[in-house]
Point group: C2
Chain length 367, copies 2
């Protein structure tokens, strides 16, 4: 299949540049003396997860049990569920997996940890867990003042092995969002390292301290107490990562092919990608993104995707767009993770230029 033949909208991912990105982040991890455990929520494709391992990753990170099941089925043997596993059915599925491969479970509550512990004891096994610490994202995670107390409670539960802690902060500093990934990464690493130190001083021998998103991971990896980073987006990169200083435009290798479907006036046009293709979660003008377009149109920095409906992307321009109906365009999405999640398949451009239709196998595994 040739690029010309690909019907739109569709995502094309360049293998050589993915390899560049994988090598680059593996180097960040290696230089920081850290393991790399990529978050596969970005691509949800077993082939790409396997490549990340081949480049040196120690294991992978998942958010959904359904994702973990797909990845385990494909032969991956070390998975961190960086999300609370809540409810008897999900605990059962987690423990099923953990009886064949290494599984690590996030815990951040007594209720969650004790239910998992009880189910593990019933099977006569020990579940490996990491405690999530809220280092500033204010979503899941034990707040730092309670981290030592909670770690003691979890570590004291028969059926659980508390092997580490993890956190996520991304591009937030105390005081608010930032465009300084180095400062954000250092703070992320320091907060996790200090929290781990306090927990160890309480007598709990934590081994793993896991930090890092794509923009912050290179810096968090250098922090003293951190021994693992978990970036996800880096494999493709995207326009938000350019703004965050984590990627160059050339490194953005998950590109959406779209078609101009309407040119109602000289200064505007419509492409066949709206919120059901480019995703609706990249809010324009929301600090700290300062994006002026729902995606960067390759070769045409003068064009902006100004608004989207479900299947319409509205391109505007200060002058004339010069676009014609039927013209293909290539767009770097603002947030590639939520875009790929909308497609059943993407096209991987191989080294020889050929295109491989590749199922997004773990997409739709919503539970």
């Amino acid at each position: 299949m040739e690029l010309d033949e690909i019907q739109t909208p569709a995502i094309v991912a360049d293998l050589a540049m993915m390899e560049h990105n994988m090598r680059k982040y593996q180097n960040y991890a290696d230089q920081g003396g850290c393991a790399l455990r990529p978050h596969i929520k970005t691509h949800k494709i077993p082939r790409l997860a396997q490549m990340q391992l081949d480049f040196g990753a120690k294991g992978i990170t998942c958010a959904k049990l359904g994702e973990a099941e797909v990845m385990a089925d494909s032969g991956i043997g070390d998975i961190f569920m960086a999300y609370p596993v809540i409810g008897p059915d999900k605990i059962r599925r987690f423990l099923d997996l953990s009886q064949t491969i290494r599984m690590i479970c996030s815990v951040d509550s007594v209720e969650g940890a004790s239910a998992l512990a009880a189910a593990a004891r019933e099977r006569g096994i020990t579940a490996e867990v990491r405690m999530e610490v809220d280092i500033g994202a204010h979503r899941t995670g034990v707040v730092m003042p309670r981290a030592v107390e909670m770690a003691k409670r979890i570590a004291g539960m028969p059926g659980l092995e508390l092997s580490g802690i993890f956190g996520y902060k991304a591009m937030v500093l105390e005081g608010g969002p930032t465009l300084d990934p180095a400062a954000a990464g250092r703070e992320e690493g320091e907060l996790l390292g200090e929290t781990a130190q306090r927990i160890r001083e309480a007598g709990i021998p934590l081994r793993d301290v896991s930090a890092g998103s794509t923009p912050t991971a290179p810096y968090a990896a250098m922090a003293e107490g951190v021994n693992e980073i978990r970036p996800g987006t880096y494999i493709f990169q995207d326009a938000q990562r350019i703004v965050q200083g984590a990627a160059s435009p050339e490194e953005c290798c998950g590109v959406m092919k779209v078609t101009v479907v309407s040119t109602p006036e000289k200064d505007r046009a419509v492409i066949d990608a709206g919120t059901k293709a480019l995703a609706g979660d990249s809010k324009l003008h929301a600090a700290p993104m300062f994006l002026s377009s729902y995606g960067q149109i390759l070769g045409r920095p003068d064009l902006r995707i100004d608004r989207m409906n479900e299947e319409h992307g509205m391109i505007v321009c200060d002058g004339e767009t010069g676009l014609h109906v039927g013209q293909p365009l290539y767009v770097i999405p603002n947030h590639i993770c939520t875009c790929i999640n909308l497609f059943d398949r993407i096209y991987i451009r191989e080294h020889d230029g050929s295109l491989t239709e590749t199922p997004v196998a773990a997409r739709g595994r919503s539970v």
Copy 2:
């Protein structure tokens, strides 16, 4: 299967209330002397499309050829593609369908219309088309000052039958967004009716004038020149439609079951639905929505879904949430169309209370 057994996040749709909504909008159409042609992009489920026809709809509306193919395969025989069909592959697929069922194609450009006309002539058939008119949404559609001229050109192309015009304006008035669906619907109907009149005066015998989104359809249906309405969301309704005055909370019958996965502090909690479940396209605080939450939590108007990441929904509260880990909650999404598009299946609650797992068969048909 019982509601208790449904793993989260998942969408449950109540059959009785869907029937209520279908009956209500069929009545709006009937009272206005209009045909109802529901847009199935909202549900993408053949069973529900068939029910809409059984309640009196004349045909359906699709945005994607893939959706139309799934619906045609399920036996539906009258489909309006309310989206430009651009490129030889899509034109071929459109004409393939139009040789077995009634297909109507949107056109809004000379390039698009002439390519379709040429391909139709090559097969020795005539393609039925409707011209889209931009009545204020400023996406696809011929701008009103050029509508007559463009209609003449399209009507003059051998291979095409220009049978009507259509437009979409939703909740926009001249001058900007509004929360007055009656005014918006009347304006929508009047602009389309007047445009059709001008085209007819130029000697083109238009038959169909199609208007209307869920909030505006009841009013557009009453406009003199309109003989068809195309609402989509009305089958489930959602929180944005409540704000727009188009639905009551009780009519919102596509509800997402979610689970509390973390309660890090007394005044906040996290549910297992973020932008990959509740969708990220409902921007909070964006006029004219005035929504304060990414979804309405049933029975708990004091709780707000304040932020979302991909798999996290952050609930906040002025006092204490009172929520516990593992607790199920039911959420009316802000925009049901983009939510359902994220799920491979939904659960339909039948009249006897049983739940039918139902594939979202046309989801993922991105091209």
